[in-house]
């Protein structure tokens, strides 16, 4: 790329990002930072409870994910546990399906009176409402983050280290506990920090299990939502809370970075160290039963509960065969409101997926073309992913609440009137999930030998033709993966959808939220089942793409 083309490309790429992601969030932060000055400090003290709840709930979720994830990742990725491939797939579902749906599942199971578990155990035994319940659901839905961090770390631990401990006289279990576990612990901890961050930015679950409880549990995200609903007078406060929430991100990322660094020093850098899985011996049966029942309880049971709720005439009715009905299914799925929501959601998800792929690929190419400046390009592209959905949505809402007029050279003017249009949703989705496109493209691009493109140039192809003929087809699997991931995330997105859907329109995430919060749990359960089906289908396509890519190599 010639220097001029590079800079033009960077400029063309930065304009939409600054205009639609960086700019609005910076404006929001400026407003938030100014809020104490205009509103005084008193009200801030009254919001301390929400901040405390956010920290306590997110911390609890991180601890739960770590405590469950550590033994699970060792069993799944280090031992000869039977069916570990299938278990791994099932245990990654909690992150693939929106946390809100897991919240619905546990609400069906453990709401104080009508929950299925409470009917078995006696009314009021379990109560999923409140901080503990929120932390529990968030911890479970973050579990895959710890598992994946553990899997990646275990792959990099040199098996010779454990063998050395064995030769020194340690039993297999002792060798595992004294060598491998301390080595992968930093990675597991950094996975737990990501769970903390995810839980702190979560809106759906604390809303579902916190706001309607008595006494209500408020966290930062749900407070922001309530303040936004108040209208203009709440926006200043909401901005200040958004600033507080946003500050958690750099702090947590710093912690992850520090943990990752201390962990990396001691892990071998060599790739693909094939190690023999540790034989479980006589513990095999016990371990299998343990993992299977954990999986059944934590993953399958909530999903089954949602299915059951969708089939019951009314939630809380007597459990009997003749009480089951498909009425909700036909009612919800054929309702014009659902169809409209589905149409708009699929349209937005497709558009956002295309934007994510295009802008992500451009980011990866710019990253490569600029070398040192590339880190900055990546930061701009990946950073909105770390911004909580509530904050991003609020920022867009505020920035585009009025129309922007741009006047170029006197005569040519255009107006950016985005308030109350679905365009705002498209922008939010694309900005939030741009990281998926950037990361996937950058990784695939790093594996491409530049001489492949150079060979096309020597063969007589110009720069554009060479790009279309060689790197582009080779990047297609990675872009397909990015598109599917972004499509699924957008189609099932709830937080930003709730805040940004214009009056009179409907998208799936908002519809699910409304049905569950205000109308009717059975109808919501039907929609949740459809979400789960969509996610499972998407994951199957992803697995297929991965297998095809592996075969072609």
């Amino acid at each position: 790329m010639s220097p001029l083309a590079r800079w033009l490309g960077l400029f063309a790429w930065l304009v939409p990002l600054v205009l639609f992601a960086v700019g609005p969030v910076v404006l929001l932060l400026a407003r938030g930072a100014g809020a104490p000055g205009t509103l005084g400090w008193d009200w801030l003290v009254s919001e301390a409870g929400a901040l405390g709840n956010t920290l306590a709930i997110s911390g609890g979720a991180a601890v739960l994910a770590l405590v469950l994830g550590t033994p699970l990742s060792l069993l799944l990725f280090r031992t000869d546990l039977p069916l570990r491939g299938a278990f791994t797939v099932l245990f990654t579902l909690p992150s693939a399906i929106p946390a809100f749906i897991w919240g619905m599942g546990w609400l069906s199971l453990a709401s104080p009176r009508a929950g299925y578990l409470n009917r078995l155990l006696g009314e009021g035994t379990l109560d999923i409402h409140g901080p503990v319940g929120i932390a529990f659901v968030e911890g479970l839905s973050g579990l895959p983050l710890v598992l994946l961090a553990g899997a990646a770390a275990l792959r990099r631990v040199d098996p010779a280290l454990e063998e050395a401990a064995r030769v020194c006289g340690a039993s297999p279990a002792r060798a595992l506990l004294t060598t491998t576990v301390p080595l992968v612990l930093p990675s597991l901890l950094s996975g737990a920090v990501m769970v903390f961050l995810m839980a702190a930015s979560s809106f759906g679950v604390p809303y579902l299990l916190g706001v309607s409880a008595s006494p209500p549990t408020r966290v930062l995200t749900t407070r922001i939502y309530e303040l936004v609903l108040l209208g203009d007078e709440g926006l200043g406060r909401a901005s200040a809370l958004a600033l507080a929430l946003l500050l958690l991100t750099p702090l947590s990322l710093l912690a992850t970075w520090a943990l990752g660094r201390s962990g990396r020093v001691r892990l071998s850098t060599g790739k693909g160290l094939a190690s023999r899985p540790l034989s479980l011996g006589r513990a095999r049966t016990g371990a299998t039963v343990g993992v299977a029942s954990t999986c059944a309880l934590l993953v399958l049971l909530p999903l089954a509960a949602i299915l059951l709720t969708s089939l019951q005439r009314s939630f809380g009715a007597r459990l009997a065969w003749e009480e089951l009905t498909l009425a909700h299914w036909s009612g919800v799925l054929l309702e014009p409101r659902t169809l409209r929501a589905t149409g708009l959601s699929l349209l937005l998800a497709t558009g956002a997926g295309a934007l994510v792929c295009g802008l992500g690929l451009a980011a990866a190419l710019l990253q490569r073309a600029f070398r040192r400046l590339g880190a900055g390009v990546e930061a701009v592209a990946v950073w909105p992913y770390a911004v909580p959905g509530t904050v991003l949505a609020l920022a867009l809402l505020l920035a585009f609440s009025r129309d922007w007029r741009f006047i170029l050279v006197d005569k040519v003017a255009f107006v950016l009137a985005l308030a109350h249009t679905p365009w705002l949703l498209l922008i939010a989705y694309a900005a939030k999930y741009l990281a998926l496109g950037t990361r996937n493209s950058a990784e695939a691009l790093a594996q491409l030998d530049p001489s492949l493109t150079e060979a096309a140039r020597i063969s007589g192809a110009g720069p554009l033709r060479a790009f279309v003929d060689v790197p582009l087809p080779l990047l297609r699997p990675a872009l397909t993966v990015a598109f599917i991931l972004a499509f699924l995330s957008c189609a099932t997105e709830i937080t930003m959808s709730v805040l940004l859907v214009p009056a009179g329109s409907e998208v799936l995430g908002k519809l699910l939220f409304d049905l569950q919060s205000y109308a009717d749990p059975a109808a919501a359960a039907v929609l949740a089942c459809a979400f789960v089906a969509l996610v499972v289908l998407g994951q199957a396509v992803l697995a297929l793409v991965a297998r095809r890519a592996a075969e072609a190599r």
């Binding site: 030998d449 001489s451 492949l452 150079e454 060979a455 096309a456 140039r457 020597i458 063969s459 007589g460 192809a461 110009g462 720069p463 033709r465 060479a466 003929d469 060689v470 087809p473 080779l474 072609a552 190599r553």
Partner: protein, 344 residues
């Protein structure tokens, strides 16, 4: 077919100079090797010739036409070249014939013409049977031939080869080397060949350009280069010669650090003063006369043995008939033929 001329090329990456004032003429139909250790700038020179890098200063002409120079920068696709990359760069998403056909499809040829030319190119490299295979089904040697066929198919004016044999095992390398020589005899294309393997360069080239630290040390026919190295570096790199620094005094060479004395034979002309002594291992003899040196190691080579003596912090290597000697013994080493380069 075209002649190439490189005039005063300079290229640096940041503050690191890679090529410093390189000038070289390649005649039409000639095969010139760029030979040197890794990091000497030979690959950068080749890439500038290909148009993949642009020289900071200097002029490149191919067939008389300026392709790089002040204000001129002809992109690689308009230089009419063929190139075989070190890692072959065979496109994994195209079959063998699709790979080879690519340069032709860019030249807007008819389908039948393309098919005929692809078949011919594949016959040159003996890959007709594998035309529909995918690259991941091929071995390293086969991939190398695909790359060669792709580089040749559009009858380039110049063929560039970047260490084409270095990723192959020894036996395959021999075979492909012979094939390359045969192909070249048949096609008569101008060829520039980058290698760090002096054996490869000596066997294939019309002329060899030896590079060191971005500078051209000597350009000559292989035999001239071997017999009459112009610099100690060329002697050391091409002939595997011993290189010692010191001083010539009273018909003898005194090494700089330990003052070890080697008598010079009568026919060695050497003015007194500081000099560099260059002597090939086979031009040293072990016997009754000469400089006594302690033997540090003996490597059996079959037809001969290599003896190593520590001198001035390096090892002096001598190739001579196998003798029953042990490390630690003192042997007498005599210069039979040596070259001396005056310093300064």
């Amino acid at each position: 077919m075209a002649a190439i001329s490189l005039e005063g090329l300079f290229k640096s990456y940041g503050a690191t100079p890679v090529v410093r004032g390189l000038s070289l003429e390649v005649r039409e139909g000639e095969l010139v090797s760029l030979l040197g250790p890794s990091g000497c700038g030979k690959t950068t020179t080749l890439r500038m010739l290909a148009g993949l890098e642009h020289p900071d200063t200097g002029v490149i002409r191919i067939g008389g036409e300026m392709v790089a120079g002040p204000g001129v920068r002809v992109p690689p696709e308009r230089r009419g070249l063929g190139m075989v990359f070190q890692g072959y760069a065979v496109w994994p998403h195209r079959s063998v014939e699709e790979n080879v056909a690519y340069p032709l499809t860019l030249r807007h040829m008819s389908k039948t013409e393309v098919a005929a030319k692809v078949r011919e190119a594949l016959r040159w490299v003996r890959l007709e049977a594998l035309a529909t295979r995918r690259p991941h089904e091929l071995s390293g040697g086969q991939l190398q031939r695909v790359a060669l066929a792709r580089a040749l198919v559009a009858s380039p004016r110049v063929l560039l080869l970047d260490e084409p044999l270095s990723n192959l095992d020894a036996a395959l390398r021999e075979e492909l080397r012979a094939e390359l020589a045969a192909l070249r005899a048949r096609l008569g294309t101008t060829l520039v060949f980058v290698t760090h393997d002096q054996g490869e360069a000596l066997a294939l080239s019309d002329r060899i350009a030896v590079m060191n630290q971005g500078v051209l040390e000597q350009v000559d026919a292989p035999e001239t280069l071997y017999r009459e190295p112009a610099t100690p570096f060329v002697a050391g790199f091409v002939g595997g010669a011993n290189v010692l620094t010191g001083e010539v005094r009273e018909g003898a060479f005194h090494t700089a650090r330990s003052g070890t004395v080697f008598q010079l034979s009568a026919d060695t002309s050497a003015p007194p003063g500081p000099a560099t002594l260059v002597v090939r291992p086979e031009d040293l003899a072990l016997g009754e006369q000469g400089t006594p040196l302690p033997l540090s190691a003996r490597l059996f080579l079959g037809h001969a043995a290599e003896y190593r003596f520590p001198v001035d912090g390096t090892l002096l290597r001598v190739v001579a008939p196998p003798l029953e000697v042990r490390p630690g013994q003192t042997l007498k080493v005599q210069l039979r033929k040596a070259r001396l380069f005056s310093v300064g």
